[in-house]
Symmetry: C2
Subunit: 390 residues, 2 copies
């Protein structure tokens, strides 16, 4: 077990109707003026917006609104939000939505107390020193941003989707009501399930020795998500299944499943190139194509690990390690297919012609390699993208 720090200060309020407590929660922390961020208005149709505003109103909390966060949130939106947050002197950023909205809120929180442009934090030119507190009301179980220390943002002018990580942007609180995800479409639900599983699997397959307790916890979360996915694809209003998926979302990315292990998210790096260049690709759908492709490419370098994964997560009974490993990867691929995820980039109209450009994006034009079961350089990344285009 490698040395690690574990820090998950976010207070989670989990359960039915919890969104009605948002005003009290913010008021208990002592904040009086907040920025409310949300996406493209589905919270208005669902009635959630009114519930939130009513709860905030009860506690006389002043609200500066900034709706319209797009999937793969854009840096221009964040820059506008930062300006407004500074002008209005907001004390907390409340994200009502999923990973994109929460990530936009995190960048807003960083920018609002800094004179630097937030892209300087993304590139590492400047190190964030403080941030406004971020709160969230989660409406889709997927990104795990509600307890994580990371956030991604897209600069379309550079075709770049990039991230940063800092304890400063771990949310102060997260309100998680599984009922709010009943109306998430089957496709977006499946994208979320894939993202959650990817967050766990990324940490599971890093190049270090097994870590019994962390391994077993990761395998547990994967099994629970798979069990719940089967239920929820048939009955989107099954509370238990939605609750299991929602809690798994937080636990998969608050780093519980990375304790004592090397932390690297190679498949996310590959996918960020795809959804960075092709804005119509949902992050989870990209991962569903990339994860099996990546696994097929690297598994030979750690067959015992992939065999353990196959047996414990997918209940593969095959005694031979190599065959078991292959069966596990196939079971994963079939599972993603079974919940309606794509299995090739072709399904997005992306073909082999795009591979060079995706590879360049992924390697920052040959400036970096990616830590993985094996190190991924230009050649390896290209090869993996080829598998994705079959």
């Amino acid at each position: 077990m490698l040395d690690f720090d574990f820090y998950t200060p976010t207070k989670v309020f989990f359960g039915k109707g919890k969104q009605h407590e948002v005003g009290k929660i913010i008021s208990d922390y002592g904040y009086k003026k907040i920025m409310l961020q949300y996406g493209k208005g589905s919270i208005k149709q669902s009635g959630l917006y009114d519930e939130i505003m009513s709860s905030l109103g009860k506690y006389d909390i002043e609200v500066v609104e900034m709706g319209g966060v797009e999937p793969n949130p854009k840096i221009e939106f964040v820059r506008d939000a930062v300006r407004l947050a500074k002008d209005m002197g907001v004390e907390l950023v409340l994200a009502v939505g999923g990973g994109s909205v929460i990530d936009a809120a995190k960048y807003t929180a960083l920018g609002a107390v800094s004179d630097y442009d937030i892209w300087d934090f993304v590139t590492g030119k400047e190190k964030p020193k403080s941030a406004l507190p971020v709160g969230c009301v989660l409406t889709i179980a997927a990104a795990g941003s509600e307890m994580s220390w990371s956030a991604v943002v897209t600069d379309l002018s550079q075709n770049m989707k990039r991230g940063l990580a800092s304890d400063l942007i771990r949310p102060l609180f997260a309100i998680c009501n599984p009922e709010l995800t009943y109306t998430v479409s089957p496709y977006q639900t499946a994208c979320g399930i894939t993202d959650i599983m990817a967050h766990t699997m990324e940490r599971y397959f890093t190049p270090c020795d097994p870590t019994d307790i962390t391994d077993q916890i990761a395998e547990s979360i994967l099994r629970a998500v798979i069990n719940a996915a089967k239920v929820v694809m048939k009955n989107p209003c099954d509370y238990e299944a939605r609750a299991n998926i929602m809690w798994a979302s937080s636990l998969s990315h608050n780093n519980l499943t990375g304790c004592g292990r090397i932390n690297a998210l190679p498949v996310h790096q590959l996918e960020h190139a795809v959804s960075g260049e092709y804005d119509s690709v949902a992050h989870g759908a990209g991962l569903a194509v990339l994860f099996p492709a990546w696994a097929k490419y690297v598994y030979k370098h750690n067959i015992p690990r992939f065999a353990q994964f196959a047996r414990r997560v997918w209940d593969v009974k095959e005694p031979d390690d190599k065959k078991a490993a292959e069966a596990g990867i196939e079971a994963m691929a079939q599972f993603f297919k079974s919940i309606g995820m794509p299995s090739s980039l072709n399904e997005f109209g992306i073909d082999a012609d795009a591979i060079q450009s995706l590879t360049n994006l992924c390697t920052f034009n040959g400036q970096r390699t990616i830590k993985s079961v094996i190190e991924l350089g230009n050649k390896e990344i290209k090869d993996i993208f080829y598998i994705c285009c079959k």
Copy 2:
């Protein structure tokens, strides 16, 4: 899945040599004057005391010392510590030790910023409103106090061991170096293992519906502890085994394994009566007798749950649920025996004559019943103590 709040703000620094960072960590938080609490001096023999003092010295941190915390920490010690902390104006209480030392530090932290006697907090007469921050350097994996919101204290004048729970006493940080537990005796190691497992099992067997993700995580932690216990009883200096047990200690009691479930620790309540009245009984050893006895008494009221426990944790293959449940309890009892734990209170010289008095302590003289798989009143508690005295 029941509604829950999850809040684990403690920053964990886990790994080799981490105790040398204590000065830097406290200095980074900005504290300059601390109270150092520890037990009966084993940290002086081991050299840990010198390492801590040296690290604190490097950062010019002023230290008020208060050694001598006893197992099952006593309220008189805490009262003395509170007085000293107030007189000296300490800003943080640093516990170097195990659960008893950390619990004493937690009560000191509550008392140091209050005019009430700390027993008033224990009885619920007063509600704690603030506390000094508590830091810890863990030297035994057992109680999980390093991430928990609870603490117990004993008032020998009343033969009472009682606890309280408050988010205010969750430690600010916990330094966890598994190497520091290499010298813990086999007996104390086994007591710790039992306590860790009990913390998980108590939450697992509460009277509510299964919670797939929480169940699976709990079962994972139990299996990891059992695996590690087998190694560590043979080789006390196996880092991986010690690390798995130490991390399990924190995860078993920070409430990860209670998310979505009714939280009650009935067997702990029974055991507190025993080690409250018989100070020589180590908490873990008491639990090793009580847990199988309690399980034998209550399992018939939730056979499917005990059967799941048997199959998933103890790998029982028996297809019949009732027989499987019984085999699981037997496997647990045999496991505790195999690591050197007692299986009857007789081994402490406690016999059936003591049962009435233990029962009175446990029920607060008939003032309370205990939530469990079934509610435990006077009769049930007596019956369980009878099983323990066989």
